[in-house]
Symmetry: C2
């Protein structure tokens, strides 16, 4: 395949690994890039100096393009961008903020820029800001999520109609069939979080990975809606939040229950009871923790097989 996403990033496959906190270090990012996709380092759980270290290690581990994801509301965002530009990282994915703030500056530095949105309205703002690609992410995605709850199936064709910038679909995709569906809806690339979080190269705690591959449908839910909507596994911590939400607790109380550092506690340290366990709905379909290379090879094979089996009407 040679399309606008593979050309833009200079990769073999239009498959991107989401920049996930506590999962997406240099090991995962370089493995994805080495397997022909575009690996992203997730800076959201790093200090600027830790990010620099991951970028430098990633460069040593792959000669292929890779990128960094930067949540723009992050207190270190500006320092992160300085480091990214100094280190000449070829690709940046921004999220949770205004795409106008950094797009031009990064592009003038030779960096390709994609921005993550959960609505067509913000996809249009991305195009106005001149981003090189738009990640459109549906309600089924893990972690932080949009307020409008638009699903991938509904979101992608509407973004497709509204903009001409290439679209990367995200949310609920973990297989070749899912990738094919995303392409049918108008995407030219996919970003997978959950599938790569549950790989050998992901830096998530082994107990976190193990609980994720044993989930059933309905075991994740969008919670914390009065603070920031976040898809979580329904563990003890979730139950506390849910109990408070059902009785009408307001944002202040929910924030207090949430406290600080719970995602690290859960995903990185493996505290399955008290941690904030962020993962996507599609985790219920995932039953193994393969290498990144196996994941990508299987997706390509099933994409191609399924593509040929779809009949004309």
């Amino acid at each position: 395949m040679d399309n606008r996403i593979t050309s833009l990033f200079g990769v073999k496959y239009p498959i991107i690994s989401g920049g996930m906190i506590w999962c997406s270090g240099w090991e995962l990012a370089s493995a994805v890039s080495n397997a022909g996709g575009l690996g992203l380092i997730g800076s959201g759980s790093m200090t600027p100096e830790v990010l620099r270290e991951h970028i430098q290690k990633c460069k040593k581990a792959t000669d292929k393009p890779f990128g960094v994801n930067v949540p723009l509301i992050f207190r270190f965002a500006e320092e992160m961008m300085e480091i990214i530009m100094q280190e000449k990282v070829p690709v940046v994915f921004t999220s949770a903020g205004n795409p106008k703030t950094w797009t031009k500056i990064l592009q003038e530095n030779g960096t390709k820029v994609a921005h993550v949105v959960s609505s067509t309205k913000f996809a249009i703002k991305c195009e106005e800001a001149g981003v090189d690609a738009i990640v459109a992410e549906g309600f089924e995605a893990g972690g932080h999520n949009g307020r409008e709850e638009t699903t991938t199936m509904v979101l992608i064709p509407q973004v497709r109609k509204a903009v001409s910038t290439p679209i990367i679909a995200a949310g609920g995709i973990a297989s070749g069939e899912g990738m094919l569906a995303a392409f049918a809806l108008g995407a030219e690339g996919i970003q997978m979080g959950t599938r790569f979080a549950l790989s050998q190269e992901s830096s998530a705690n082994e107990s976190f990975k193990n609980i994720c591959i044993n989930l059933n449908e309905g075991d994740t839910m969008l919670a914390l809606k009065k603070v920031v909507p976040t898809r979580l596994i329904k563990n003890d911590f979730y139950q506390k939040v849910e109990e408070a939400e059902v009785r009408g607790a307001q944002a202040e109380e929910i924030k207090e229950i949430l406290g600080h550092g719970r995602a690290k506690k859960g995903i990185f340290e493996g505290d399955l009871s008290n941690g904030e366990l962020e993962i996507g709905q599609i985790s219920s379909m995932i039953k193994s923790i393969p290498t990144v290379k196996c994941i990508i090879e299987e997706i390509i094979e099933s994409y191609n097989t399924k593509r040929l089996s779809i009949p004309a009407l």
Copy 2:
């Protein structure tokens, strides 16, 4: 196309119109069947005698197969089934209940049976009950909805893995691209509610249809979760429910706010302020109210065009 769904129902296209309250009378059902799909009469808003009248009118309006949707929790369910068997309706779609109750009885009477589910767990129960097809419906669908909030993108491939019965995908599908995505995920047919509710032949009130074709993303939301999760337009009635839900009102109070007959008031009588306006998320993509024939022709054309444009990997 000739697949298990077209063979099962004896139709040209594996496109089914959902049996929607206040929308799906004999006019809509017969129009869908005449255009090559399978039209369903929605019995959920009818008395048994009104259903008989609709079946008889539908028979006169088409010589093609059609069906009736029966919510099994409905107080008239048993009388509905008697009438359906007396009238020798070729297809029944059941929902909201146990598929074991009626499947065999209907099949012995020569009727094909499909059952609607929102989870793989219930899809397996359907297969055990011996249904002829399974409708798997995602979170983005309008009206009554599952509690697990699994989206179409996530649900279909998991149901596909778990059962060998043919699958009809529902929820978020209103175009050829959506149909193609559903087939990529493993469906062999699609059921569309929202798209056909907003057709010339739908018996919904014109003001309801008009408000629906002017919605933006985020203008529907899953509400009434403490009673029965239902996707609604965010009108004045929704705001009342939402205000109560945010402050933690319990099921009893929500039921009182809901009262009785609100769906009729909204969808059939066109009270856009006080009615319960049930419609799917994909309504935000729909901007016109064509005839059923135009809808089906456009879907077929865009399905076939998009299918040929998806590249190999």
